[in-house]
Every structure is written in C-alpha cells, then in structure tokens.
Amino acid sequence: MERRGKLRTDTLFLIPAMVFVLMSELVPIVYTTYLGFMDWDIINPPKWAGISNYVKVFSTPELINALKNTIYWVLGTLIFAVAFPLFIAALLNRVKRRTIFKLIFFIPSTLSPTVAAIFWRRTLASQKGALVSLLDLFGVQIQPILTNPQINTFVMIGVWVWQFFGINLILFLVGLETIPQEPVEAAMIDGANPRQAFFRIILPLLKPISMLVIANALINSIRMFDIPWVMIQGGPGRASETLAISLYRESFLLFKMGLGSAIAVVISIMTLLASYRYILTLGKGRRA
C-alpha cells in the first residue's frame, strides 16, 4: 500500500509536462488526423469526406506544384546547406585564418528566417534593390528575380542556405575537431590520399553529428514556411508555395479545414519518414 502511494507522488512530477504536451501536441495530432477525413468550412458542422482530401492533395495542380516545390527545398537544403558546409568545414580545417570566415558565415544564423527574408527581399527588389542598383553602375540590366516563377523558388532556397549554412558549418567544425587523429594519420602513412582519408575514415567518424545535421535539415526544409511567405507569400499567384504555405492558405484564408489537415498529415508523414533513423538513435537512451 505504501509503495503504491509513493509511486503516485513520484508520478506527480511528470504530470505538468504531460498536461502541456497532451493539450498542445498529442490531442492536436489525433484531432488533425480526424479532420483530414472531414469536409469542414468552420461554420457548418463537419461532414465525413473519406479520403477525398488526400485525393485532392495529390491531384489539384496547385498542391502538386507545392509538393514539387517542397521536394526542391529538401534537395536544395541537403546539397547546399549540408554537403556544402561540410566541404567548407574541411577546407577551413586546412587554413590558419579561419576565425574571420567562421564569424562571417555564422552571422546570418543569428538572424531569424523572417529577418533574412526581409533583408534579401530588399537586396533583390527590382525597384531600388541593392543588386539591381549595383549592376546598374556597371550598365548591366537584369530581369526581375523574385516575381519570376521559373527561378524564384531556387533563389529563396539560396536565401535559406545563406541563413542555415553557418550553424551547420560550426557543427561540422566541432565534429572535425573532436574526431581522433590517430586513424587518419595511420591511413595517410599507409598511403591513402587526402580524399580517400576523408571519405573512408573522417566521414564515418563524423556520423553522429552528420545524422543530427541531416535530420535537422530535413525537418526544417519539409515544413518550410517563413522564407517563401515573407518574401513573396508563395507567389506570384501560388507558384512558389510550399506545402506549409498551402496548408496555411487552405485552412486560414480559404477555410478548408479538412484539406488543410490532410496537408498537415502529409507533411508529418514526410517528416517522420525522413527522420526515422535519427529517432531510432534517440530511442537507445543513454542510461550507461
């Protein structure tokens, strides 16, 4: 009897955390999943809609386009905000004056995505923009950049890379500094060239930090909202929408709560699939 009472007071310590998480995460997850199967305009009662919302996600041209853009964001992030900073970190590791470069590359990471988007929007604006005016001094005229649906997604991915690059660079540099030197030296003595040493020895040793960087990059790019929203509201029209912007537009501007919820579920499934290997490493716990 006494033991049971004791267990209960111990559990009390976890109750506040559980209450907050139930309220703001666990119940919403269930509720969003439920709404994904409903038709609901907020005013009239929700109606059962089966999987029609999911059919719409994968058949409406605007939403297919958003899915395509989201995949561009993910691929762009992996190449230019993960692989590229790893390459730069390896370069920086070979030069003496690296502090100044570290500082320069890290400054954008201290800004928020919203501020980064505002800065670049002004820098790239076709009216009184910094780039246009600079090129103008050399007599070069350029077409508007942000309103061109052919390229603006890629330009905005560039803005995100600018903002996200620094933190990953620092993490890779920390990783490179902490890996043991002996296996690398041993491989070099055995005749491995720097490239072989990098891919065969250093990269596997960097795995824990790379897993973290990749998972973080995937999660943040799949749900990308801030930069394309602040720069051009997913426009022109709906050309540069990501899934996260489609969700916002469908639910909170067009009041299609069911369709919005279905998009949320799709974003969640993409995120869980992308990060499940990282989740597995967390599951091991660290009791030792």
Binding site: L111, V230, I267, S268
Partner: protein
C-alpha cells in the same frame, strides 16, 4: 610539392573570400539603407551615402520611428514576454520530469518519456488547426496567456529530452544521501537537482528563447492584438501595411538584437546543446 601546396592554399583562400563577399553583400546593403532617411533613400542612388553628419541622426530617427510610430516596440515587448515564459516555463516543467524519470521510481519511465517526446517528432503544422480551435473555444484566442500556453507546450518535449539526458550524468548517490538525511523528494529536487542542472537550463533556455523569438506562424494564426515581433515585421513589409524601407530595415535590426545577445553571451552552451542532442 611545396609550390603545389602554395597554389592550393591560394585557391582555397580566394574561394573563401569570394564566398564571404556574397555572404556579406545583403548585410552591407542593409547598413546602407538605415544610414539614410526615407527621403534620402528615395532621392539618392542606392550606393551613394548621405552626408556623414546626417548618418547618426538618420539611424536614430529610423529606429525611433520603427519603435514608436510603427509600434514595433510593443511587439518587441510581447516577444520578450513570450520567449522568456517559454524558456523558463518549459525548463521548470521539464526539470521536474527529467528528475523524476531518472532519480525517482516511476513505472515504465521509457513509455512516459516517449509519450511526451513524441510531440517533438511531428512538425508543428500538425498542431496548428486544433490549437487555433481550442484557443477559440477556451476564450484564449488573441490573448497573451493563450500564446504563452502554446509556446510552453511546444517547447516541453525538447526540454524534457535535454533534462533527462542531463539527469543521467548526475550520480544517484547524491539523492540517496539526501534521503538518508531526511530530505523529501521536493526538497531534493529544489535544493539539489535544480541548482546542479544549470547547464541543462542554459541549453533549454537558449534554444527555446530563440525558437519562440523567431516564431512567425503561431503569431500569424493565434493573435491579432498581441503579435510577436516577427509576425509584426512580416505585416509591415506587405504591399498594404507598408512603412518606408528604411523604417522596415531598422525594425528588422532591432528584432535581431536579443537573439544575437543570447547567442554571443551563451555561445559555448549553444554548441554543447547541439552535441548533447546528437546522442553518442
């Protein structure tokens, strides 16, 4: 061989310098903007500076305009309240949980942990619509309380993760000894665990303060009157809510000061926090 190495180094440096110039370009462009008054921005060529004596005055009046007339000051204070509450609130709630999971006898501690941590695995788009509906139902839509509850709730799973990992590094003997000396669980928690877990607090506080400060989406959906700073900025630069460019950029700079201060002053905890979450 040596000449080859020299060439190699020169190539690396020139590459890094070109990249750095691209990185600095938008920052320099923005500095040029706040050096000017709205009139000078319109009349002068972009890359022509105003008279030196005007520069300080212009910076001051741009910032004052943004803070007072564009009401960024109010949003700045809103965001300070939100970010502090989320940082401190989630840290306190998670410290209780982390202490209990590791140093008290909880049935099925792993299930409890995953039940709470699962919130961190979903993108927060998954919570948006229900949170909007709940806050409306509870009469908390468009209130500071409503936003604080949401921000704390979103921050708790990650905070618990950090505190649990940190709690494993504290030897159980300390708490056993306190028990022998007659200290209860609450006393052990308040007098021993909390003071010893300052590094975990620093990590949680930095990450959650910055995340909340930078939030745009919840601020866009859950409030009209108590907009956090990023949401307010995004509205200021729209075609309709427009203020002069120099004011907008001054506002964006003000908005960046707190996170820069937090990052620079607690830098070593920031990197440690990332490696702490990286697992082994």
């Amino acid at each position: 061989m040596k000449r080859y190495m020299h060439f190699d180094k020169a190539l690396i440096y020139s590459f890094l310098i070109i990249l750095s110039l691209i990185w600095i370009f938008p920052l320099v462009s923005m500095i040029i903007v706040i050096f000017k008054s709205p009139d000078e921005f319109n009349s002068l060529h972009y890359w022509v500076l105003p008279p030196i004596k005007n520069i300080l005055k212009n910076i001051g009046s741009n910032i004052a305009y943004a803070w007072v007339k564009a009401k960024i000051g109010m949003n700045f204070i809103n965001s300070l309240i939100f970010a502090f509450s989320a940082g401190v609130g989630s840290a306190f709630i998670a410290s209780m949980g982390g202490y209990a999971l590791v140093h008290l006898k909880i049935k099925r501690p792993q299930s409890w942990f995953f039940g709470i941590f699962i919130g961190n695995l979903f993108p927060f788009q998954m919570f948006l619509i229900p949170l909007y509906l709940f806050l409306n139902k509870l009469g908390l839509y468009d209130t500071r309380t409503g936003l604080i509850i949401v921000y704390v709730g979103i921050c708790v799973p990650f905070a618990l993760f950090v505190y649990r990992n940190y709690a494993y590094t504290l030897p159980g003997e300390i708490f056993d000894a306190a028990k022998v000396d007659g200290a209860g669980k609450w006393k052990s928690f308040l007098k021993i665990f909390l003071p010893m877990s300052k590094p975990a607090f620093a990590v949680v506080f930095i990450f959650q303060f910055i995340w909340t400060w930078n939030d745009l989406l919840f601020g866009l959906i859950l409030t009209e009157r108590y907009r956090p700073i990023m949401t307010a900025l995004s509205k200021l630069q729209g075609a309709r809510g427009g203020v002069p460019v120099t004011i907008l950029i001054a506002g964006a700079l003000i908005a960046s000061i707190p996170t820069i201060i937090v990052l620079l002053s607690l830098q070593k905890f920031f990197v440690r926090g990332f490696t702490l979450t990286a697992g082994k």
